[in-house]
Symmetry: C2
Subunit: 231 residues, 2 copies
């Protein structure tokens, strides 16, 4: 059940960590199992832990006062999230984290990280890389949301997902396990619109749509929809 410190090197941020540091981190942390649908933390909670997802999938999301959700990010195994507590004093999480499947995670005390950061440049640099990546993605998505129409945004969501975690089948087909609702939250639209567009694409032979499942048959055609200038 307990995690082998050496496994931590699979986390990008710890790629260059010494064995010793990994041990410190492993010791300064606890394991948490979160069942599907439950939350690691909520927006506004004090950010006392940073998490490393060991198994399962999770998502970062925000809700607005009237309850609508927006997906900010999907988290896969060996990714770190909720790390900003490692930096800021008295930080609170700016988003909630919910398990999409049963999850196992390592919760690292923010204080431990804060201590280490002081004299481990590799750590700061790793975290900054994480942050700049994320900033870039958010900027892109923000621009998309502001300027592109829904069909294109949905295409992009699917492409992003395939890039992150696509399980390739025969002839480049890629299967994704998401509900229409989840996809709509990622694209910033409604589940109805997603359903309609997937149906349309199915008619055109680009995808195969099933219950909690989308199989991408012609990734290239999706790229055309996502990027094409005309139309």
């Amino acid at each position: 059940m307990s995690i082998n410190p050496a496994d931590l090197r699979r986390v990008n941020v710890f790629e260059k960590a010494s064995d010793e540091d990994l041990k410190i981190i492993a010791q300064g942390s606890i394991e948490r199992s979160i069942e599907e649908g439950n939350f690691f933390f909520f927006q506004g909670d004090p950010a006392d832990y940073a998490y490393i997802l060991v198994a399962g999938r999770a998502k970062l999301l925000q809700t607005n006062p009237s309850g609508q959700q927006v997906n900010l990010r999907t988290i896969n195994a060996w990714q770190m999230f909720g790390a900003l507590g490692a930096v800021r004093e008295a930080a609170t999480y700016p988003a909630s984290a919910q398990a999409l499947e049963d999850c196992n995670a390592l919760a690292v005390k923010s204080t431990t990280l804060k201590e280490l950061i002081k004299d481990r440049p590799y750590l700061s640099i790793g975290l900054m890389n994480l942050m700049t990546d994320y900033i870039q993605e958010m900027q892109e998505r923000y621009r998309e949301l502001a300027t592109e129409k829904v069909e294109r945004r949905i295409a992009r969501v699917l492409l992003r997902l395939t890039a992150q975690m696509g399980i390739k089948g025969e002839h480049n087909t890629i299967e994704l396990g998401f509900t229409r609702k989840e996809l709509s939250e990622m694209a910033g639209t409604t589940l109805f619109t997603v359903s309609r567009i997937l149906s349309e694409w199915e008619r055109l032979g680009l995808v195969e749509a099933g219950r909690e499942r989308v199989v991408i048959l012609q990734p290239h055609e999706l790229v055309v929809i996502a990027e094409e200038l005309e139309k």
Copy 2:
């Protein structure tokens, strides 16, 4: 013309820098003057310099393939921008930076910063604070764009601007110098819609709208529009 190294301490990131470090930074940098409308750098350029705005105002923006613009951030004096080159290898700017007024800026070689970061924790931490702040703002704005309607988004834009740089007049009135177009790019809408809504608000006595100018007469009412649940 040349900048006093001690002035650099007005930059958040350098708040805790030693006099010596400031000197290194000042020496490893050059001054650039950019006229209103011109660009510091374009999206995609190699990120060889990080900038510190000394005088004037600038904005970070992205354009999509068909030329539409989205404003990501407004930059005021003594703020740092384009800093991600300090972290990543062979980075390119993920956005363009354009002067809103005639600007003076200090361009710090990315290599200089990269060198310093290695053993100046205060610097990494400062940069990370900058990044986490920005991430939070982007997340918020992303959610707003996805879930709130235009009127509310415009209200938020005005409120954000007043918080950042409002010049208070009598009885809490605040004057902002932006064109409808600029405001629309910040709110993710069109200049027409902004114009209509400002007219509407003017009819209600909330603001006073003029050429390249918005005076906020009743900030509190704007907050109501920005936050209120009903309607």
